[in-house]
Amino acid sequence: MAGVVPSGRQYVLLLLLLCGFGVVLFRLVALQVWQAAELSVKADRQHRKTVSLEGARGTIVDRHGKVLAMNVEVPSAFGVPTTLDSPTKTARVLAPVLHVRSEELERKLRQERSFVWLARKLDPEQGRRLERLSLDGVGVVMEGRRFYPKGPFLPHVLGFAGMDGEGLEGIEHRYESYLRGEKRMMVLQRDALGRSVFPTDMTERSPTPGHNLALTIDEVIQYITERELEDAVTRAQAKSGTMIVLDPRTGAVLAMAVSPRFDPNVVSNLSPDRWRNKALTDAYEPGSTLKAMMAAAAIEERVVKPNTMVFAEHGRMSVAKTVIHDHEKFGWLSFAQVIQKSSNIGAAKTGMVLGEQRLHRYLQAFGFGQKTGIDLPGEAVGLVKGLKDWGRRSVASISIGQEIGVTPIQMVSAMAALANEGVLMRPYVVSEIRSSEGQLLKQASPQVRQRVVSPETAHTVTKILEGVVTDGTGTKAAIPGFRVAGKTGTAQKIDSRTGGYSASRFVTSFTGYVPAENPRLAMIVVIDEPQGDAWGGTVAAPVFSRVGEQVLSYLGVGSQEPVTLAMAL
C-alpha cells in the first residue's frame, strides 16, 4: 500500500469532493451565520400563526332567563385575489351561493390584495355549500354574529349590534363595556400542512366571553303589550304608539313597546327614525293626564279637597286674552269631578290658585324636565320652562297639560309615584349582570328618587283617579274584578305651519295603575295621531284594559270580586 501512488484521476476525484464539501460548508456558514437572523424570522413566520381571538358577546335574557339576544358562530367568506387564475369564473360560481352579484364579487377578486372579504356573517347552510365547492383562493372563517332569536321583539329596548359586534343602539350600546368579549392575540404553532399544533405557551387561556345581562322585562308581558299596542295602532290608523308597563313598587320595567316595530336582525335598510325608542326620546304635550299630578300637588298643598266645589264656567273661560274650553258645558263640579270629567277650566282654576311657584316645584318633584335615569341610551329631558319664561297663561295651560313636554317614561314614572304612596322610583331595565361562569357581578336594586307627596295625598288622588275609570272619561280602561286608577289625555299637536294647535292631529293617552288598592302595574299607553274618534278614553284606555287584564291573570293577581261556581269542581 505504501508504494501506491495516487493516479491523476484520484486527485481529480479528491479535488471534486473537497470542492463539494467546501460548497456545502460555505452554504452552511451562509445560512447559519450570515443569514441566520433573517431566516429565523422567516421560519417563525411559517411555523407560528398569530390569530386574533375575541370572546363571544354576552347573552341578554329576560327576567325568567329566556334568551333575547345571543352570539352564534357563523361563516364568513374571504378571497385571496393574488392566487386566483380566473376571477371571472370564480365570481360566477360564488354569486348564487353568496347571493351577491357576480360583477361585485369579480371587482373584489381583481384587487391587488392578498385578502378581501367577499360576504360576511352568512347562514350556516351557505357556509357548508361554500366548503363543498372547495374553490382555490376562496376560504371560510367563523365569526360571531349577533342574533335576536325572537325577531321583531323588544327591538327598541334591545337595540342591535353592528357587523363587527359593537353595540350600536339600546341595551347593546348602553352596556357595551359589559357585553363585549375580551380581545386577545394568540400564537399557535403550525406543522408543514398548516395545521395548528398547540399554543406556544400551554398556559395561555382563551379570551374571556362578555358578561350576560338579565333584564327586568318579562317576555310574556312584553308580548301581550306589543300585540295589543300594535292592534290599537292599526285599528286607529295611527302614526305610532308607545306603551310601558312598570312595577310601581320598584321601578322595574316589565314591558316597553313602540309600534311600529323592527327586526334587529335586519337593520341595514332602516332609517334611524324606525329604531328610535320613542318611549324615552320623544316628548309630547301630555294634555289631561298631567291633571293627576296637578291634583296631587293641590291636595298636598291643601289648596283643595276632593269635595271642594269649583265652577266650570259652562265650558268657556278667558285667561290672558285667550279662551280655555271644556269638552262639555259643566257648571259646578266637585274637585274630584273636575279630574274625573277632565274639566280644563276646573283644572286651570285650581292650578291658578296653587300658583306658579308651587306648580313648578311639584312638576320638578314628579321628575318632569329631567331624565328619569333609566339605564337606556338617548333619554330626553322633555320641556319644563323655567319660571322666568312662564307667560300670563302658563299656569293655566300647564295645569291642563299644555306648554309642557314630557316623555312617556317620565309620565308613567310620575303616575307610578302616586301608586307607590307618593314615592318616585328610578325606572330600570337591567336587573343583573353575571360573568360567563355565572358569577353575580352586579345586581340592580330599586332606587328611590324622592318622596313627592304624602301617602295620604297619594291615597286621596287614587280615589279620585278610580272615579275617572268608574264614572269619568276613562271607563274603557276598566278591568272586570279590579279597581283601576288612571287618567285619560287628549292633546292637540302643534301645527308646524301655523305654529298653533292642529285641529286634526292629536296625541291620545291613558296612564294609570291597577289594582288601585295595592298596585302591581303602572302603565301608560300613548297613541300618536289616531284617526276618527281620537280621544284618550276611546283609543288608549281600551289598550290599558286589555293588557292589564291579561297581565294580572298571568301574574296570578286575583280579582277582589267574589266568584261563585255553578257546580262543584
Partner: protein, 113 residues
C-alpha cells in the same frame, strides 16, 4: 460495561425522541378535541337559538290560534278562584287561604256578581 453505557445512552436518546414525538401527538389530540369542543359549542348555540325562536310567545300564540283552533280568552273570561283547604266552596280571593286554582271561565261557571 461499555456495552451497558452505550445501551443506556441509546435508551436516553430513545426516551428523548419518544417524548418529543408524543408531545406532538398529544398536541394534535388537543387540537382535535378543541375543534370538537368548538363544534359542540356551536351546535349548542344553534339549538339555544332554535329553542328560543320556537318558544317565543308570538309563535306559540300563532300556532295555538291558527293551527289548534284556540282563541284568546275575552274580557272577563279568566277568573281566579281560591279554595279553603278542606272546603269545596270557593271564596273571594281576598279571604282565601293560599291554595289557588286558576280556572278559565266557561259554561261551568256562573256569572260573577
Amino acid at each position: 460495561m461499555k456495552i451497558l453505557a452505550v445501551l443506556l445512552g441509546l435508551c436516553l436518546v430513545f426516551v428523548f425522541v419518544w417524548e418529543r414525538v408524543d408531545m406532538v401527538r398529544v398536541g394534535y389530540q388537543i387540537e382535535r378535541l378543541k375543534r370538537d369542543k368548538t363544534a359542540l359549542e356551536r351546535q349548542r348555540d344553534e339549538l339555544r337559538v332554535q329553542f328560543s325562536t320556537l318558544s317565543a310567545s308570538g309563535r306559540i300564540a300563532r300556532v295555538a290560534t291558527k293551527e289548534l283552533g284556540m282563541g284568546l280568552p275575552q274580557q272577563g273570561q279568566v277568573v281566579l278562584v281560591q279554595f279553603r283547604p278542606g272546603s269545596s266552596q270557593p271564596v273571594a280571593v281576598a279571604d282565601a287561604a293560599p291554595v289557588e286554582v286558576r280556572v278559565a271561565k266557561n259554561d261551568l261557571l256562573a256569572r260573577r256578581y
